[in-house]
Amino acid sequence: MNEFTSGFWDLYISIITLVSILACGVLLVAQSKRRVAGGETQTTGHTWDEDLGEYNNPLPRWWMWLFWSTIVFGLVYLALYPGLGSYAGLWKWTQVSQLEQETARHEAQFGPMYERFAKMDVETLARTPEALAVGQKLFLNNCAQCHASDAGGSTGFPNLSDLEWLWGGTPEAIRTSIAEGRLGIMPPWGTVLGEQGVKDAAHYVMSLSGMPADSIRVARGKEIFSKTCIACHGPEGKGNTAMGAPNLTDRVWLHGGSEPQIIETISRGRSDQMPAHKDLLSSAKIHLLTAYVYSLSRSDIAPHRK
């Protein structure tokens, strides 16, 4: 855009535009009549291939008025809308103002519905089929890309339809997760623990979920766990929803529950980010999404999950 900041180009474009429009008018006047020698056959005067003429079959006069009206339209348009360099036009139209108008119209159409839902609490919304239908649409548009259409998640993206929560499953915790986002970090322990240490820790973790594990490694791993992992995952490996540390005893595996996957998680660490949506979605929409996500794991209350 730099080259357009100098006034020269504004002038350049404006003059070319206006002169072209006026030239159309001049052309129209000049070409509406022509002088021919009397007695000559009435042709348009065009000759092709040496001797091929064209009879003059005049267009109706109203057709010429159409040409004039396009010229008038062009001038009126350029007066009303920004078409001549930096001139803003009498109506001060901009793309941004149009977007704002359309957004306002959309708000006016759907605002009352969201307002009504915003006044209801999450527990009530989760029992209201109409609210859940809207919530589902919001979910499919905004959340399903990572968490899957059924909210069942995928490797690295938590399942939202079970009762296991990384950051807590209360309406407030869910709302915070959506609005503020979350950053879950498992630091890499490979260099600290060494290859065998990591493997020992992995076997202990496997034993927490009742999976088959090497008992010697489990014993060694337990020691490592109580020194290293306990700070976040707790003494019993039940995790900590305050910092998003997963419960290691529930057979739910965010990054896979096989031995190599667990070893990978411990030695290299993991970094998971849920992006903040407060700037992307209105608080009313986040409220509805909270209710929808809350309803997913609560088959006891949600009408459509039975």
Binding site: Q31, S32, K33, R34, R35, V36, A37, G38, G39, E40, Q42, T44, N56, P58, L59, P60, R61, W62, W63, M64, Q136, K137, L140, A144, Q145, C146, H147, A148, S149, D150, A151, G152, G153, S154, T155, F157, R251, G256, G257, H304, R305
Partner: protein
Amino acid sequence: MTAGANPGAPAQFVAQDLYEVRRTIHPRAVHGWFAAWRWALVWATQLVFYGLAWLPWNGRQAVLFDIAHRKFYVFGQVFFPQDIIYLTVLLIIAALALFLFTAVAGRLWCGYACPQTVYTEIFLWVEKAIEGDRVARMRLDAAPLTPRKLALRAAKHAVWIAVALWTGFTFVGYFTPIRELWDAVWGLNTGPWETFWVLFYGFATYGNAGWMREQVCKHMCPYARFQSAMFDPDTLIITYDRGRGEPRGKNASKRPGKGHCVDCGICVQVCPTGIDIRDGLQYECIGCAACIDGCDQVMDKVGLPRGLIRYSTQHAMERKLTRGETWRRAFRPRVLAYSAVLWAIVIAAGVSLWQRVPLKVDVIRDRAAISRQVEGGEVENVYRLQIMNVTEAPRTYAIRVAGLEGVAIAGADRVAVGPASSAALPLKVRGRAAPGTHRIEFLVGAEGAPDERVSEKSVFIVR
């Protein structure tokens, strides 16, 4: 360049207009066989157009194109945007029918059924009823502005505008429920778009049928020009029988050696585009056959056989074919080919509509979770089923998955969908299978309506 008539002398230059002022045409009213046909088609098309919008059907408007909700009701059927193929087929049928009729008998559409012709006919009728026939109208045009002329003009335009507004209102009534629109019109609270379209379509009717008339056919209509491309020497066109008519002159019957044309000029006076058919086929001719009706009346009066101007073909004229021979030539390859294709498409479209299942299913495989391990070593794939209930009754659909042993739907496999609406159903398919991509099928069927079944293909991926 010099003028040929006067070589050597300085040429006399004249200004020549490349745009001409339009000449007003006041076609003389005409009665007869073809005029009766045109009026029959005016009645038929307009009864359908003005009447159909008011026809109720199962508690709703029979024909309603609800653009806002993207549902198009045509009698018992509801069409969705996904059914656009039927609109395409309808347009193809219309185009082929135009080709066929044009190849057989020229511009039948233009002469009898085109809205431009039909509304011009109606507006001309109003004009004749208020201002009188051709001569009276021409006199009125030339007369100075008197209170009487002003009153006649005002009355004519008032009736024209009333017809035009009613037409615009009816048109919009196909896109927004006409009874609600009627109340809205009287309450003066029509929406901005309704108001615009009623006025716009009304203005188009008033302008085209009242003012523009033959100018539309001559200068604006693309069909007018390309229909000539479908003419061939065996196409029926409105033809002046030059051999019988010439040399023309008054009192032809009483003067031996003269042709049958009495040069009364009726054929020119009745022509809505103001041409003289005796000059041969011209692009302005819309094939309305008014000149045939006019000429036949004159022939009856002077005691000569009818048909000096008639539907005939170029070949019939050149080779002096009889009526039967001319008609037999209608069954030429071009016409047979158009007919065959037209019937094939009409039948295919009919069968397709008859067999149409009022249920549409789209399976969208989830891209977020291609293949998900669940407890116990089973694999889960996630799908989103978009289920559209095209019937006008609520339905409950049961969904089954087939095509792969050992997998089944986990969780909800039934969904209720309201009348003429759609629902998105996230669906889990779970089971054990060898690694790789397996073809599966979703079978969706309405409970209590065994005919409403659809199967959609997808894949189940294990990795």
